[in-house]
Symmetry: C2
Subunit: 291 residues, 2 copies
């Protein structure tokens, strides 16, 4: 049995064919283009493989409510050509197999829970910090949907007292994403984040914002583990700093074995950038079981 | 079939006997005392009724993980006599019927979802602002537990620029509870919150903190409805102000039918202070179905 997994991002789309054991047999990457062209490419790739279902991790906002009439539609995105595009419906028309969709970050979280750093746990959150900031959530073993889907990258934080940068979010200016995404760091310091030395004071500001956000997520979601991914969080020197600052913010209020051992509580993703694809694969497998 | 429902708070304990139709047949209220005395009172009350199960909504922190060896124990509470007290176990020994426990605010949320302002919905949050601030969460129709349970009353907020009050939380000083609980308002203005005129500028500060918190909950939990309770939120003149400020903070980022109609999205609790008891009753009914 073969499964299709798709991850659609703002700049690129990745498609994978994965077998029942989890082996990635074929992969295609291409730049995100118009929805028609993208669907054509995705369908063309999968039509060469005998797959039984597809899981998609999509950029948002997207309708992931399976009971909704507009399930699988891209919603009110700034990518105008994709706005209100019936993504799942169009792909289904071309391939005529079951398709399930969730957000890119929910899929990444699910991938890590099922195959990566969150294995064996039912309540895990995944935060990616790169071009944007996204939060994926698995609670009771399932991705969180709710009214729409989590948008935890945009929570309001306290401005660090040393930070005079105005913030980059077009909606909220200085929300978490506006203050701490890769482009926000770059704009604050005038050069790309990856060029900063490990001891650059810009990292103290970054760590403060990340730790504030993680502390708020601990208090709201009560996750059993926090998994971090994305370009900025490949800077492994940040992890001890983040853990210390989270401890400082929580200040002894939450007393659990997990919080006593932050080294194993706040951890990097294990799937090396494939977490979204593997989450989508897992979703595809759940369809198969239903049918 | 009769069910027992218990709500234990910092100052008082309420026990109710409720029949299958939801009618409250008998009720007992008494001040929270030592755990032994309290358990004696609870057991004495219920032993006069032929109840088949008990649901408890308890102050926290409390072990609500049904698979845990210490399920039903009060955890690291500042109420020293209750610390590590095996609440459910002791009550079970006396009454020999099934007992299920969750937090007071999770029960209040569940009560509103099943019988009050959240009926028909699967994803709802309940915030109570009184002596403290608590957040109860129902997602996919079930209360959120996770590593411990939500403690969303303690999230970090931005200090309002007009507010010079230091904050009242013993752990975080100026977290949400530290800045916006009833006692925090009273300490800020030098008299009880209920004595303030509706146009007192202290309400602007309070509304700002509540709206920041609700905006962050919208972004993290993506609830289908937000239900408000507790003494401070009996001030109905605050609701339009809170809704306007939430709209301002979200600033068009979340576009859903619910957010377009905040009058029906951010609403007061319907069960007039009995939401916790009715949530506990609902939990008791779920046990019965299992057995």
């Amino acid at each position: 049995m073969l499964y299709g997994a798709v991850e659609t991002g703002g700049t690129k789309i990745i498609c994978g064919v994965i077998d029942e054991t989890g082996e990635l047999l074929d992969i295609l990457r291409f730049p995100t283009d118009t929805p028609e062209y993208s669907v054509e490419k995705i369908a063309g790739f999968f039509s060469n493989h005998d797959i039984c279902a597809i899981g998609i991790g999509s950029f948002g906002p997207v309708d992931i409510n399976e009971t909704s009439k507009t399930y699988g539609n891209i919603l009110d995105t700034p990518k105008l050509q994709w706005r209100n595009y019936p993504f799942v419906e169009r792909l289904k028309t071309k391939l005529n197999i079951p398709i399930i969709i969730d957000t890119d970050v929910n899929c990444a979280c699910l991938g890590e829970v099922k195959f990566g750093a969150g294995q064996g746990l039912d309540n895990v959150i995944y935060i990616t910090i790169g071009t944007g900031i996204g939060v994926g959530v698995v609670l009771n073993g399932k991705t969180l949907k709710g009214m729409l889907h989590p948008e935890g990258g945009h929570i309001l934080l306290r401005r660090n007292s040393l930070d005079t940068y105005v913030g980059k979010c077009p909606y909220h200016k200085d929300c978490f994403e506006g203050l701490a995404s890769g482009p926000a760091i770059a704009e604050r310091v005038g050069r790309p984040a990856f060029e900063l030395e490990e001891d650059d004071s810009a990292w103290d500001i970054e760590v403060d914002y990340i730790a504030q956000a993680l502390s708020n997520y601990v208090l709201t979601y009560s996750p059993e583990k926090i998994i971090l991914g994305g370009g900025v969080l490949e800077q492994l020197h940040l992890y001890p700093l983040i853990r210390n600052k989270v401890k400082e913010y929580l200040n002894g209020y939450i007393r659990t074995p997990q919080i006593s051992n932050l080294d194993e509580y706040i951890v990097p993703a294990k799937l090396k950038g494939n977490q979204g694809l593997y989450g989508a694969y897992y979703l595809a497998k759940t369809i198969d079981k239903k049918g």
